[in-house]
C-alpha cells in the first residue's frame, strides 16, 4: 500500500543471504544487476554464508530467533523450510506462488516447501544423488552399468583386481548431513525409510538394518569402499574420482561439469546414472537443493517477494542452468531447446529428479539429524551394530518428538 509508493520514491536495499555459488560471485551479480535495472527502486546486497550447511543453519536460526530484520531473502536447504515455517519465521508465499504454477515443479521440492497447506518458499535449484562411473573402465572389462548394489560390488571387485591402485566405490561417509543423504538412499532402495505410512517415526526395522549392514559391508567385508569414505565429503570424493582413482562414485550433479573441463584426468571417461537399488526394489535418490523464502521480519517484504519471484522465474533458472550448471526445479525447462543444447547432461537427469525423495519432512528434522549423523557414522564404522544404532536413534528421536505433546 503505502510501501509501494515509498518504494517508487526512494530505493530500498534488500539483503539476500545465500551460500557460496559455483562460478564465482560475478555470475550471480550479473543476474542481480539485471533485477536492479528492471526494478530501479530496489537495490540488492548479496551476502555469502559459511561453507558448511550446519553453520548456515545456525546462522539463520540464531538470527531469525532474535527477530533479525537484517536480511530479507534467504536461501534454504530443503530440510529447513518446515522447521522455519513452524517457527513462524517465514512469510507465506501462497500469494506469489499460486498452485497452478507449483504444478510445473517437481513434486519433491514442492512438498518440502509446503507446511500445513501453505508454501513458504519457492524452489530455486534442485539436487539429487547420482552414480558416477568410469565409462572407459566398464567398457574395457565389458561390464554393464550396475543396476543393483550387488552388481556394483561385483563389478567393482572385478575391476579392482585387474587395475592397480584404484578404489571401487566412493561416497560421502563423514559424520555430517551428507551421510544422512547417502544412508537414506540405501534404506529407500531397500524398501525402508524412517517414517511409516501413518507418519510415525520408525527407524528400527529389518529393511533399515539390512541397508546399514550393506553399507558397513561395502567398507569392511567387500572392501570396495576404502575406509577414507568414513571421513569423506563431496569434494574429497570428487578429487579422488577426478584424478582417476575410483571406479564408482556417489555424488551430486555438480561434479560433472568439473570432470568435463579441459585438463581433467577423466574428461570424456565419466558416465552418470541413477543410483542402484537392492534386488527387487526401485532406485531412490535423496532430494537436495535450495529454496528461496522471505524473512518474516523483513522491513521490505514486498521488494523481497519481487526478488524471490525474479530469481525463481523461468528465465533466471534457465540462465543459472546454462551458465552455472544449476539444475532447475521446473519440469518445463527440461523441454527447453536452448537448455537441451547447452546442458544435455542436466536434461538427462530428469528421471532422477522425478524420483528424488525428500528426507523426513518434519519441523524437528535438524534435531533428528543430530541424532542420525553420529549413529549412522557409528554403524558404518563398526562402532555399533546397525541394530544398536537404529534402536538408539528410535529412543532419542522419541524423546525429541515428545516436545510436540503437551
Amino acid at each position: 500500500q503505502t510501501e509501494k509508493r515509498e518504494a517508487t520514491e526512494e530505493t530500498v536495499t534488500i539483503v539476500f543471504k545465500h551460500g557460496k555459488l559455483a562460478g564465482g560471485p560475478e555470475a550471480l551479480r550479473a543476474i542481480l544487476a539485471r533485477f536492479e535495472a528492471e526494478n530501479p527502486d530496489i537495490k540488492v546486497k548479496d551476502e555469502v554464508l559459511p561453507a558448511s550447511t550446519d553453520e548456515q543453519h545456525q546462522f539463520y536460526v540464531i538470527n531469525l530467533e532474535a527477530g533479525s530484520p537484517e536480511f530479507d531473502v534467504l536461501s534454504m536447504d530443503v530440510i529447513w523450510v518446515e522447521e522455519f515455517a513452524r517457527a513462524g519465521w517465514l512469510r507465506p508465499l501462497d500469494g506469489i506462488f499460486p498452485p497452478e504454477e507449483r504444478e510445473d515443479f517437481f513434486a519433491g521440492p514442492i512438498s518440502a516447501v509446503t507446511y500445513q497447506g501453505s508454501v513458504y518458499a519457492i524452489p530455486w535449484y534442485i539436487d539429487a544423488g547420482l552414480l558416477y562411473y568410469r565409462k572407459d573402465l566398464l567398457e574395457k572389462y565389458s561390464m554393464p552399468v550396475p543396476r543393483t548394489w550387488q552388481e556394483l560390488v561385483s563389478t567393482a571387485k572385478l575391476i579392482m583386481e585387474k587395475e592397480k591402485d584404484i578404489y571401487g566405490f566412493i561416497w560421502q561417509g563423514k559424520q555430517y548431513e551428507g551421510l544422512v543423504c547417502n544412508v537414506m538412499e540405501y534404506m529407500w532402495s531397500r524398501g525402508g525409510g524412517l517414517i511409516d505410512e501413518d507418519g510415525r517415526f520408525n527407524a528400527l526395522k529389518k529393511e533399515n538394518i539390512e541397508a546399514l549392514q550393506f553399507i558397513y559391508d561395502l567398507i569392511h567385508t567387500y572392501r570396495v569402499s576404502p575406509p577414507l569414505v568414513t571421513t569423506a565429503m563431496e569434494e574429497t570424493t570428487r578429487h579422488i574420482f577426478g584424478s582417476g582413482r575410483a571406479i564408482f562414485m556417489r555424488n551430486w550433479p555438480y561434479a560433472w561439469k568439473i570432470f568435463e573441463r579441459e585438463g581433467s584426468a577423466v574428461k570424456g571417461k565419466v558416465g552418470v546414472t541413477v543410483l542402484p537399488a537392492f534386488e527387487g526394489y526401485s532406485s531412490a535418490a535423496t532430494l537436495g537443493g535450495w529454496q528461496l523464502g522471505v524473512n518474516r521480519y523483513s522491513p521490505h517484504p514486498e521488494a523481497a517477494e519481487r526478488l524471490v519471484r525474479y530469481l525463481t522465474s523461468y528465465e533466471v533458472q534457465k540462465e543459472m542452468s546454462i551458465k552455472m550448471g544449476y539444475r532447475p526445479p521446473r519440469r518445463s525447462l527440461y523441454e527447453d531447446e536452448e537448455l537441451r543444447r547447452a546442458q544435455p547432461f542436466i536434461v538427462e537427469l530428469y528421471p532422477v529428479f522425478e524420483r528424488a525423495r525428500p528426507r523426513p519432512e518434519t519441523p524437528y528434522y535438524m534435531m533428528i539429524t543430530q541424532v542420525l549423523q553420529p549413529e549412522f557414522s557409528a554403524a558404518i564404522t563398526g562402532l555399533k551394530s546397525p541394530e544398536e544404532a537404529l534402536r538408539s536413534i528410535q529412543r532419542q528421536v522419541e524423546y525429541i518428538l515428545k516436545l510436540e505433546e503437551r
Binding site: 555459488l21 538470527n63 532474535a66 569434494e235
Partner: protein, 274 residues
C-alpha cells in the same frame, strides 16, 4: 667429555623442539602460496609456481579487511578496558588491602575457572535482550569480563612486588589513593601492565566460542570465526584458508617476537610466585 656430550644432547633437544613448534606453521605458509591446482599433489613440497592469488582472493572475495578491523577493535578495546578495570581492582587488593580482599581474590580465581560453555547460553539471551547481538560491543563486554580474572591476578602480583614504601612515601608527600594509583603505581607497574595487555590482546584476538555465538554478520564477526566458517562450495578452500591464517597470525607472531620476555613474565606471574 661428558660435559660436551650433555651440551650436544641439549642442542639436539633444542633443535627438535624448535622444529616441532615451527614446522606446522611453516607448512601453512607454504600452502598459502600454492595455486589450488597444486594442492592435491604432494611431492613437490614447495609450490612449483608460487602465487599470491590466495592472498588476493581472501580480500577480494570476502570482506576480510572489515573482519580484521572488527578483531582489532574488539581486541584493543578489550585490552584497554580490562587493564583499566583490572588495575583499579588490583591496586585496591594489593595496596589498600581492604578487609576480605583475599575472599575477593579467591572469587576472581574461581571465576577464571568458569567454563565459557557454561555461561554462553544465558549470556546469549541477555545480549539478545539488550539488543547487542552481532555488535562488537557484546564481544568487548564479555571478553573484558573473562579476561578480568587474569588481569587482576597478574597485576595484583605486580603491584605487590612494588615496595609498599612507595605507597607510604607518596601518602606522606600528600597524594590521595587515586593519585598514588595513577601517578606512582601505574607508571611503575608499566612493564606488568604491558605484559598483561599483550596477554589480554592475544586472548581477545583468538577467542572463538563467544564470537561464534554472538556475531552473525561481517558487522561484528572476528577473525577466528571467519576462518572457522570460511565459505566454500562443497569443500574447504585450503590454500585460501592458509593465506587467511597467515594474515591473521601476523599480529600475534609480531607480538610474540617483540615481547616474548614480557609475555612469559605475565604468564608466569600468576603461576610461579606465591
Amino acid at each position: 667429555m661428558s660435559r660436551t656430550l650433555k651440551k650436544a644432547l641439549n642442542w639436539l633437544v633444542l633443535c627438535v623442539v624448535v622444529l616441532w613448534s615451527v614446522a606446522p606453521f611453516v607448512w601453512q605458509i607454504i600452502t598459502s602460496f600454492k595455486p589450488s591446482a597444486e594442492l592435491a599433489t604432494l611431492p613437490p613440497l614447495l609450490p612449483a609456481s608460487p602465487t599470491l592469488d590466495n592472498y588476493i582472493s581472501v580480500f577480494s572475495d570476502r570482506p576480510f579487511g572489515r573482519i580484521i578491523l572488527n578483531s582489532l577493535v574488539v581486541a584493543s578495546l578489550t585490552t584497554v578496558l580490562s587493564i583499566l578495570v583490572g588495575s583499579l581492582a588490583a591496586f585496591g587488593l594489593a595496596v589498600l588491602k581492604p578487609r576480605g580482599g583475599y575472599l575477593f581474590l579467591g572469587f576472581v580465581l574461581t571465576v577464571s575457572m568458569f567454563p565459557p560453555i557454561s555461561t554462553v547460553s544465558p549470556l546469549y539471551i541477555i545480549i539478545r535482550e539488550l539488543g547487542l547481538r552481532d555488535t562488537v560491543l557484546a564481544l568487548i563486554i564479555t571478553y573484558t569480563t573473562f579476561s578480568l580474572p587474569l588481569t587482576i591476578w597478574i597485576l595484583t602480583n605486580f603491584f605487590r612486588s612494588i615496595p609498599r614504601e612507595l605507597y607510604l612515601s607518596a601518602r606522606v608527600d600528600g597524594c590521595t589513593s587515586f593519585q598514588i594509583f595513577y601517578r606512582i603505581f601505574l607508571p611503575v607497574a608499566a612493564p606488568g601492565l604491558f605484559a598483561t595487555a599483550i596477554l589480554v590482546f592475544i586472548f581477545a584476538w583468538n577467542e572463538f566460542l563467544f564470537a561464534l555465538t554472538f556475531t552473525s554478520t561481517v558487522r561484528a564477526r572476528t577473525v577466528p570465526v571467519e576462518i572457522a566458517l570460511f565459505p566454500g562450495v562443497h569443500e574447504m578452500p585450503w590454500a585460501e584458508i592458509a593465506a587467511a591464517s597467515v594474515i591473521v597470525t601476523v599480529p600475534v607472531v609480531l607480538l610474540v617476537f617483540l615481547f616474548q620476555r614480557r609475555i612469559i613474565e605475565g604468564l608466569t606471574a600468576g603461576a610461579v610466585k606465591r
